[in-house]
């Protein structure tokens, strides 16, 4: 197809409109059942998927959360930006922890064959474990922490689930360092520390940032699951609470928020990654 002016804007908008249209088409709507005299007896929902709120219903129910994003009406009744902020804070902590642990492990894997042979199998086994499986363990580990157990368990889960891409990409990056750079270090007789900071780390940075970006994506996936199970205030906690409260419109609001935030985070990391790729 030929490209035209503003196609970068119009085509995505068209795509969004199509999806919204499809959503509206399959969603349910309220219909009143009337008796013979025209009095409303009961209300019921009709449509292809009766329980699915329509676009308009979702907007009406979510308006207050979007238009007053920073409002705080109660523990589980806050503006969407406030919930997002809570989630982001927790993700930032868990993700930071993942990078702090994952990067050195990645370097060890990349530098030492013995270390790789010893720990690679266990890493390959732990890597595919779902966050939903880690979380109960996290809660048990921090049982003594009392009120903080939920937070610490969530942090543990985010860290352990999101660190694998960082670990593996860093290891690949270290192994991919050209022999020439190492020869330079050898000819100059750089000390081990200097070789690490002047050669190994700069040479690995592009790979590390690819790992960081993938890790952030996973951390954001995990936060929702963690909040749902621990009932912490946040986008995921809100989603689960509103499911239990039968306010289905807010589930959709939460999903859209989670998606948008995840998208923005990935874009930001891509920008940073591109900066390091350019060297």
């Amino acid at each position: 197809m030929r490209s035209f002016k503003l196609d970068w804007l119009i085509l995505p908008l068209l795509g969004i409109l199509l999806v919204l249209g499809g959503w509206q088409a399959v969603s349910g709507r309220k219909a009143a059942r009337k008796d013979a005299e025209g009095k409303v007896v009961s209300e019921e929902r009709v449509g292809l998927i009766p329980a699915l709120p329509s676009v308009v219903e979702t907007w009406q129910a979510s308006r207050i959360y979007i238009l007053e994003p920073f409002a705080k009406r109660g523990e589980m009744d806050q503006g969407i930006a406030r919930f997002t902020w809570y989630s982001l804070l927790l993700v930032a902590k868990g993700y930071g922890l993942a990078l702090l642990i994952g990067t050195p492990i990645g370097f060890l894997l990349g530098l030492s064959k013995v270390f790789t042979k010893t720990f690679d199998p266990i890493i390959q086994i732990l890597r595919p474990v779902s966050p939903l499986a880690w979380l109960p363990l996290g809660l048990v580990l921090f049982l003594d922490a009392g009120k903080e157990a939920g937070t610490l368990g969530a942090l543990f889960t985010i860290a352990i689930c999101s660190m694998w891409p960082t670990v593996l990409n860093t290891a690949v990056g270290v192994r991919a360092i050209p022999q020439d750079y190492l020869n330079v270090a050898r000819v100059l007789k750089l000390s081990r520390t200097k070789t690490l900071f002047k050669v190994l780390i700069p040479a690995t940075l592009p790979y590390m940032f690819t790992g960081f970006r993938l890790s952030l994506g996973i951390a954001w996936l995990v936060i929702v699951a963690a909040e749902m199970l621990t009932g912490r205030p946040g986008v995921g906690g809100f989603l689960w609470q509103e499911y239990n409260a039968l306010v289905y419109e807010h589930i959709i609001l939460s999903i859209i928020t989670i998606g948008l935030v995840g998208f923005i985070l990935d874009r930001l990391m891509s920008l940073i990654e591109a900066r390091f790729k350019s060297i």
Partner: protein, 300 residues
Amino acid sequence: MSLLELSKVSKAFNGSPVLCDVDLCIARGEFVAIVGFSGAGKTTLISLIAGLLRPDSGEVRLEGRPVTGPGPDRGIVFQNYSLLPWLTVYENIALAVDQVNPAWDATRRREQVERHIAMVNLTPARDKKPSELSGGMRQRVSVARALAMDPQILLLDEPLGALDALTRATLQDEISRIREETHKTVVLITNDPDEGIYLADRIIPLTAGPGATLGPSFTIDIPRPRNRKEINHDPHFKQLRRDVTEFLLASRHRPHATVTRKLVLPDIEPEDLNLPRSPQGGRRLPRRSHEIREEKVEIE
């Protein structure tokens, strides 16, 4: 006493010999070119001198002391530049200068870096990253970095191999000029006899591998400064080029490649009439053996 001495140096990789009994003596201030085929072991030889590799047998000595590892007293310029791409020209050279001369004060180190950037005419590009430079400029940075360490000996491993012919000529002249200025001892590895003869005091061919060794040394007494245009008509130059090339070609005693061809012999053998006849045919029937034999053809 010679500055660099290799005695009976041999090196093999995975059991296949690359260098055998290499002997080499280089005096202080000498410019020696080692010329050989691609894959003959030239880079192995320079890596042994640099100390990046250890010989299987024999010894490499610098100023009488055995070489046990790489060090800044042997400045090496690799074929593929090996600049650190995240550092600027200045930073690449400063990394070497700071590492080699930790006792110098900051001003002196900066002067050392700037002087060597100026020596290779790269002052306008001092804050550029290697990716922003052409191949020739990158190689100049590499030369400047090696020289800024103030090494006893400068090892050039096919420094101009990856460059186009015009850049090559420019850089040859530049290497020649820098060498006149610094009076450094230089070992140049190259696959181009002309380049070796144009630049060096002595040219030594490396025989074709495997198990390569150094041939006789040819002294080049063409007076300096040498002129690129005139040198082509110099009878001594022509003679040297002929001698070196002939030695190299003669050293290539093994054929370069063998091709194995499959020969399918005729598919049928006549029946043996001496054997007794039987209703089923038995052994008297013609035998089809599909016999396939192989023939090796050597290509010169």
